[in-house]
């Protein structure tokens, strides 16, 4: 499982970096999303994956005597997913507006000359 995740993270990071280096705005957005997902899985992986051991202390005990699944990384990932959801939806609307205004998907066309400054 861990090894699979390691490869998955590697592929996602590589694909994300490749996409954000392209000039297309849509690919930029997809790349950012892939990087975000790769980071989430990285947190999941580094939080030590433990199977079938819920973090609940038995009634007769005061402390854990066994290893347990750490709930914190999942809380972190959940927060990060919610945040990236908000950011992504904003980014999609922004790119759609820019596309409607400029009529191009190319990042190099995003250069209003300085003469048009206020």
């Amino acid at each position: 499982m861990e090894l699979l995740l390691v490869f998955l993270i590697g592929v996602l990071y590589a694909a994300g970096v490749y996409l954000i280096l392209r000039r297309s705005m849509v690919r930029l957005l997809l790349g950012i999303m892939l990087l975000g997902n790769a980071t989430n899985i990285l947190i999941f992986l580094l939080g030590n994956i433990v199977k079938g051991k819920p973090p609940i202390i038995e009634e007769s005990l005061k402390v854990f005597k066994d290893i347990y699944a750490d709930p914190v990384p999942q809380a972190l990932i959940l927060t990060a997913i919610v945040i990236s959801f908000g950011l992504t939806s904003f980014a999609i609307v922004l790119l759609k507006r820019v596309y409607a205004l400029i009529g191009s998907d190319d990042l190099d066309d995003l250069n209003t000359p300085e003469e048009e400054d206020l």
């Binding site: 990285l42 947190i43 030590n48 927060t79 950011l87 205004l101 250069n111 209003t112 400054d117």
Partner: protein, 502 residues
């Protein structure tokens, strides 16, 4: 000491934003509420500052979960000073916005989002939990996206694409760093991390992780190879928004760098060198960028970059005097950079443009306003005894005592170029005769009522007075910066305050 008052500034801005949502279309009510909210936050920030200044570090455990298990808010002198400066800058911007932001933008929720942005900044300064810091950063950037695009002009949206891409990327780096840090230490509390990081056997992975933080915060604070999004976006939004961004947003990145690299990671010699090289290059590229710009706000954007180099270099020297100078410069810079963009907005009101060749003759027509602006420009350039002068002395002294002559040279070059562009701006905008033949002057300031004129000039006056206070009462600021640099070098009081006496 536990004190729940430290979170009041965050709550005030939150509730101001919520109340303003109820008055969605009543922009006058929103303006009044905004100024009231910011004034209240200012009073509480002053109160918090005096409490921390006299009584030491205060903490608050969210939900009464003891540190390091719950989220903890910590008010040490560094955070509270920045909260206080933020509240001063926010008050000035909120007054200026009442007239300086168009009604159409207000109808799209300018004020609630402005308050959420300031709330995020306050939260980022006060939190003692690294993941919570990430969340506050996200609050800040999503609010700043909206403010940057509000109005939807073509240039604004183009700037926003670059700004958005770089900031989300920075957050991803930051989050990756947090993930690895949690994996190797098992904690997110910054004080707890400070105790656990030195005990990790393999310090090379710690250094690797610190690089993620360096890049993430480096993008946000606009240091040398990572700053290009700043000059291509900060000249596009309304000046009130640009003032908030220029004064405060890059500074929260700097705050995070200082916090992370003094409390959690003790910088190695290599990282210190990286900081100094980054500082030198930031100063030089920012300064040379400022020379060639003709638009006032583009010029100021490059000056922001240039002066961030001073502070980063101070962090790189990592001696007591250098940190003192860097913190003092940070204090001075927040106020003066906010003011510069407000001034740009005022000039736009006076003349309808911000392109220097088209401007001129302001001194003849508005001598009092020109005098006010001169004070600000002088304190930016660091003319003694104004506020930019003192921190440079300390940075210079620290660089001499650690024999770092490249940094000294770049400090001098940076200061001279700042002086040069400022005097060029002064002679172009204020002294030169206006070229009225082929350009119609649109003065939207003169027909305004006295109240509106006061609304536009008062915030600049307020910030100029703060700059004067910082410059003329430098002894007090040095005392504060001295204690902050002590807190940075000896983190035991911070850790004890957060984790109790262990």
């Amino acid at each position: 000491m536990i004190d729940n008052q430290i979170i009041t500034t965050v709550l005030i801005h939150l509730f101001t934003a919520i109340i303003q949502l109820a008055f969605w279309r009543k922009t006058v009510t929103q303006r009044v509420l905004s100024v009231i909210g910011c004034s209240l936050a200012f009073l509480f920030a002053v109160n918090l500052f005096t409490k921390v200044y006299h009584g030491g570090i205060l903490t608050m455990n969210a939900g009464n979960w003891d540190a390091p298990f719950g989220i903890v808010f910590v008010a040490d002198l560094f955070s509270t000073s920045l909260v206080l400066l933020t509240s001063i800058a926010a008050l000035a911007v909120s007054i200026f916005s009442a007239r300086g932001v168009g009604r159409a933008r207000m109808l799209y929720g300018y004020f609630p989002i402005f308050h959420l942005l300031i709330m995020g900044l306050n939260g980022a300064f006060l939190t003692g939990d690294i993941f919570n810091l990430y969340v506050w950063f996200e609050v800040v950037i999503i609010a700043s996206f909206v403010l940057l695009t509000l109005g939807g002009r073509k240039a604004q949206l183009e700037g926003a694409v670059k700004y958005m891409a770089m900031n989300i990327l920075a957050s991803t780096f930051f989050l990756t760093g947090i993930g690895i840090l949690y994996g190797i230490t098992g904690t997110l509390n910054m004080a707890d991390l400070a105790l656990k990081i030195p005990k990790i056997a393999d310090q090379s992975i710690v250094n690797l992780t610190s690089m993620f933080f360096l890049i993430g915060f480096g993008i946000k604070s606009a240091v040398f190879p990572l700053y290009f999004w700043l000059p291509s976006s900060y000249h596009t939004p309304p000046s009130a928004v640009a003032a908030t961004f220029g004064g405060l947003l890059t500074k929260v990145g700097l705050y995070a760098l200082f916090r992370v690299f003094t409390l959690m990671f003790e910088p190695t010699e290599f990282i210190k060198t990286v900081f100094i090289v980054m500082g030198i290059m930031t100063i030089l590229t920012g300064a040379f960028g400022a020379i060639i710009k003709n638009n006032i706000r583009r010029l100021f954007s490059y000056l922001i970059v240039c002066h961030i180099g001073f502070i980063i270099g101070g962090l790189g020297l990592y001696t007591k005097v250098a940190l003192l100078g860097a913190v003092f410069y940070l204090i001075h810079d927040i106020i003066v950079k906010t003011n510069l963009f407000l001034i740009a907005g005022l000039i736009r009101q006076l003349r309808g443009t911000m392109i220097m060749p088209k401007l001129g003759g302001l001194y003849a027509e508005y001598p009092k306003i020109s005098f006010l602006i001169a004070i600000v420009l002088f304190s930016l350039a660091g003319i003694p005894p104004l506020s930019g002068f003192w921190p440079k002395i300390y940075l210079m002294e620290a660089a001499f005592s650690s024999a770092n002559y490249f940094y000294i040279a770049s400090l001098i070059v940076g200061s001279f170029i700042t002086l040069y562009v400022i005097s060029k701006l002064w002679s172009d905008v204020f002294w030169k005769d206006a070229d009225t033949d082929d350009i119609a002057v649109v003065d939207s300031f003169k027909p305004l009522s006295t109240l509106n004129k006061v609304i536009l000039v008062l915030p600049i006056c307020l910030l100029a007075c703060t700059s004067l206070f910082i410059g003329l009462n430098a002894e007090f600021i040095i005392k504060v910066a001295d204690r902050i640099s002590n807190e940075m070098l000896d983190t035991t009081p911070y850790i004890q305050a957060v984790l109790g006496h262990k």
